[in-house]
Subunit: 343 residues, 3 copies
């Protein structure tokens, strides 16, 4: 019996089955510091226990995107080891902050399959949930990936395509228990801009850029226990380059967005996202944002912004797609998310 | 209204005003471990809780230089985003150790301004204070930088040049409450040399060298939330090189100085410092020290050494300036500080 | 008096003497997170407090190999600063897990010396013990190194060659107090393979590879306060390359061995090891294992596997030595250890 795991292939997924992913992880002060070393993260609620406590939380949580990476990383050996492409995200919700000492597990339910017309691969949709040590869901989201078939002769399964929201409604978002911005210190947070200062359609160039290195993206990707070979092994791609984990680009862009969105403190919803082009060491990542929507949550003083976050490795800010509708070659990421901000 | 921050220009500083800097930071076990990963730090008081407790402290504090970086990093967006040069430091005092769980804020009072004769820039002096979550000052220091004017037509302010000490007196130094070296274990600390073994004028070649990498200096600089573009973005300098944060060189040199100054445990005073030449990835940093002064503190058994710490990227040890008085091209750093050592 | 330490030479070692090594170190959440950032470590018992508690331990310990590095690093300034080669390991036992907050010291007893026939160097054997803050031994092991003489005219000491076991017996291994696999969750651990599923002589190709970077191996080596110049300074070797600490290769290979040995959770015995060839940045490390022996421990449900772990930078899996008995040039490491696994 072979002891090593070759991963699942398209024909190994059945709609309705739930996969328990391996390797629970306890996170803490080390992951938090490393997140600040790997990204220029400055959102105050994730930098300071005192600031988080003034916002009604017991302490500063792990950065929301870091928590996402922990949950996501566990799914890689079961979902995307034989993936040809990570196609999309939907209905992502941060349902409970992750604190130092929490142990995170992940499970995924297969919610859709569709074989490609070439018969060699298919699309798999899963709804992944991250749980803490109390069994509470901390994050859930849908993602879909194109996965190779082991045996191209295997019969096609019945096509099931899940019905997914193009964007979460504000009512779908979970405002953490106790969150309040009534004592919010805008000086300490770094910018004066409130929810009311942002207009739908407004765009913001986040100005700063970071040239990325092999050691950094590998350390980040390992930290989340993401084992995909293409990130680590120069022999795994024909061009000899290590592909940077798309989540590294998400974290970098989100951290850069501090400059202009310092008060968009908590990420609570992921509406969608595309890794438009590959990122490699030596690229200089920049970011810009667009305000897609605004809403009031039920919690007094807590507003929500729906934001498009675009990471680029060049090109002019605010350019996204060519005339044919395809992403421009310098666009790395097009992410659509909800964040909480003082009204 | 532009949401992003272009930083302050020379004409935006008024003598007497106090700037509250953004993004408080809680430090802990992660920052401590990263400091040991980024620098060959071996001073026992910062490596071992048990050793620190034997010295009368509740636990091992964050390295003094790391604490300085945390305080300093917060000032960058307000003080040095449009700086042409960081010119000097004076009257730096470590007034209270920083422990795991402490949350650090910074404020700066503008204490001097002097427009340059070219009318395009000026020098700004600030006294920066780092506070912990109890409002206690942990560090204060003066630094001055040359800052661009936004509008070269703006009128020159009245010149105010602060009166600064060329070096702190031993009476200015703060010995941490409870510090004692009566149970000091020289074997565990790594060297037998006491305060009495050092002579004014003595020089020490610290022997070891470290070749520095892009990933390391960027991780370090981000960890302190220092956002200066030149450290991260290959497009921000005409030569396409990322300038290494001067504080990275300070930390590297101080860590290397263990070899010969293992018992110069606590940095308590910063008399001055010059970043003599730029440092880039690939440089191999070495260090040498000179004993500038010696003094007894009021605390029994606790002596103070005033040390010159020089970091180089080549050249012979103990060479510093050319005949014209300028720093030799291989000199990176010339730092003047007070440290506490067992008598 | 020279303040810096030139290290010990062969004639400075006397059989029977005990050396107290410098710089105690408190380890914690930061070291644990960094270990996960530097290596693709996934063994569940070292990743999750909840998993470790289900195995009867109070919390997740520091990775056994990390604990070894902490103990080993302290010995470098006293044992191997003037070493020409690190020749071997024997009789290594992990006697007590290291937990967050523990402070580790090391001592070494000189147990053998043998001058080489060329009169320029000799072999020194030491038995090193790592202690925690309670004085309990956490690890002990024998290593031997070839050390230069300061003075080739110094007389040869009486040869003492210690009698060392070629491999520990299962009865020599220490099963941590309270360890139980009765509630072991194989899904969470990542693989279904039990002790009974492995056969003596079986070989496992761990499949994955990691291309290593300068920044990573230097951060790792510094984290263990290993100060050997060859790892950090491009000027210390004639070829201008930084030699990667052999322990970095051990950790990388052990982490890669998860894929096929996910349940070989705890490393408890080190029978021997050879750093067969040097490793440099840019090499892609792979690993394979061979089951050398199997035994039941006295603890119900806890089995032991004796494993050969081979790290390579190329070549075919399972090839080790050339016809002349020498290691093949692509072999980096040949390690022989005991691990505990659910029966």
């Amino acid at each position: 019996m072979a002891k090593t795991n070759a991963g699942r292939f398209f024909e190994d997924y059945t709609v309705g089955e739930t996969i328990r992913h391996a390797v629970p992880r306890t996170v803490g002060a080390g992951e938090r510091a490393l997140y600040h070393a790997l990204y220029p993260a400055r959102h105050a609620l994730y930098s300071s226990d005192a600031f988080a406590q003034a916002c009604g939380l017991p302490q500063s949580p792990l950065d929301d995107i870091a928590a996402f990476h922990v949950v996501f990383g566990k799914t890689v050996p079961d979902i995307s080891l034989n993936a040809l492409a990570n196609l999309g995200y939907a209905e992502g919700r941060w349902r409970r902050p992750v604190y130092a000492g929490d142990t995170i597990n992940s499970t995924s339910e297969v919610i859709g399959v569709k074989q490609n017309s070439n018969g060699k691969s298919g699309v798999v949709w899963v709804r992944t949930k991250g749980h803490n040590q109390h069994g509470e869901v901390v994050i859930d989201y849908v993602r879909w990936a194109m996965v190779r078939k082991r045996d191209t002769e295997a019969p096609a399964p019945e096509t099931v395509i899940p019905d997914l929201k193009s964007a979460l409604d504000v009512g779908d978002l979970v405002v953490p228990d106790g969150l309040t911005f009534s004592e919010y210190d805008f000086d300490l947070a770094g910018e004066p801009h409130r929810w009311g200062d942002y207009e739908v359609g407004e765009t913001i160039d986040h100005v700063d850029g970071v040239t990325v290195e092999e050691a950094e993206h590998m350390m980040a990707t390992r930290l989340w226990q993401n084992t995909a070979k293409v990130h680590f092994d120069v022999r795994s791609r024909p061009d000899g380059q290590r592909l940077i984990y798309g989540g590294h680009v998400i974290s970098m862009a989100r951290a850069l967005s501090f400059n202009g969105l310092a008060n968009a403190q908590m990420v609570v919803g992921l509406n969608g996202g595309a890794h438009a082009n590959p990122c490699f060491a030596g690229d200089t990542i920049r970011a810009w944002s667009e305000v897609l929507d605004k809403a009031e949550t039920g919690t007094p003083g807590v507003g929500a912004l729906r934001l498009r976050l675009v990471a680029t490795k060049g090109g002019a800010p605010f350019s996204l797609r060519a005339d044919d509708g395809k992403y421009l070659p310098d666009v790395l990421l097009d992410l659509d998310y909800w964040a909480l901000i003082p009204v």
